[in-house]
């Protein structure tokens, strides 16, 4: 709730500045009319920049992922061997490959 108030205040201040700039017409009006568009374009640029920075610094843990996959594969293999043994003891044919 506090954040939106801050953003709204900023917007109000900026529009007031813009209107005053329009009224005083210190610089040509065609340039003053461009300022809101400039604001939108800079906002888009900021968003794109944040996406780029986030993509660059995205935390990936490749080493841990490989380690985890290896451990999981070993555990699963162990389970498979154990299950085959159990089934063989109970007289179920599970094939003898691997």
């Amino acid at each position: 709730m506090k954040h939106i108030v801050k953003i709204m205040a900023l917007l109000v201040v900026m529009s007031a500045l813009w209107v005053s700039l329009l009224q005083t017409s210190k610089i040509p009006e065609s340039y003053t009319l461009l300022l809101p568009l400039y604001f939108i374009v800079s906002l888009g640029c900021y968003g794109l920049l944040m996406v780029g920075v986030g993509l660059m610094q995205f935390p990936t843990c490749l080493h841990e992922a490989v380690l985890f996959a290896t451990v999981c594969a070993l555990l699963v293999l162990e389970d498979i061997v154990e299950a085959k043994e159990y089934l063989k003891q109970n007289g179920v044919d599970v094939g003898s490959n691997s």
Binding site: I27, Y31, L37, C45, L48, L49, G52, V53, L55, L62
Partner: protein, 80 residues
């Protein structure tokens, strides 16, 4: 894969920063430069500072709408 992501991120940052710099020069600084200065050769006329962002925004919105519609159609087909 990781390196490609990083390259894309760097590319996006560079593109956004260059667009921001160019547009700032175009809109903010150029009004205070004399009309016959050589810098004006490197910038399009002032109308294009409105036209290009508006066209880009409309194209972006169209693309987003098409994409959302496509995704919704696909998800509905999968459900039935």
């Amino acid at each position: 894969m990781e390196l490609a992501d990083r390259a894309v991120g760097l590319l996006l940052s560079v593109i956004s920063l260059s667009i921001f710099t160019y547009y700032t020069f175009w809109v903010i600084i150029l009004p205070f430069v004399d009309g016959d200065h050589f810098v004006h050769k490197y910038f399009l006329p002032q109308e294009y500072a409105i036209l290009i962002p508006v066209y880009a925004g409309v194209a972006l919105i169209c693309f987003l709408s098409v994409f959302i519609g496509y995704v919704m159609l696909k998800s509905k087909k999968k459900k039935s």
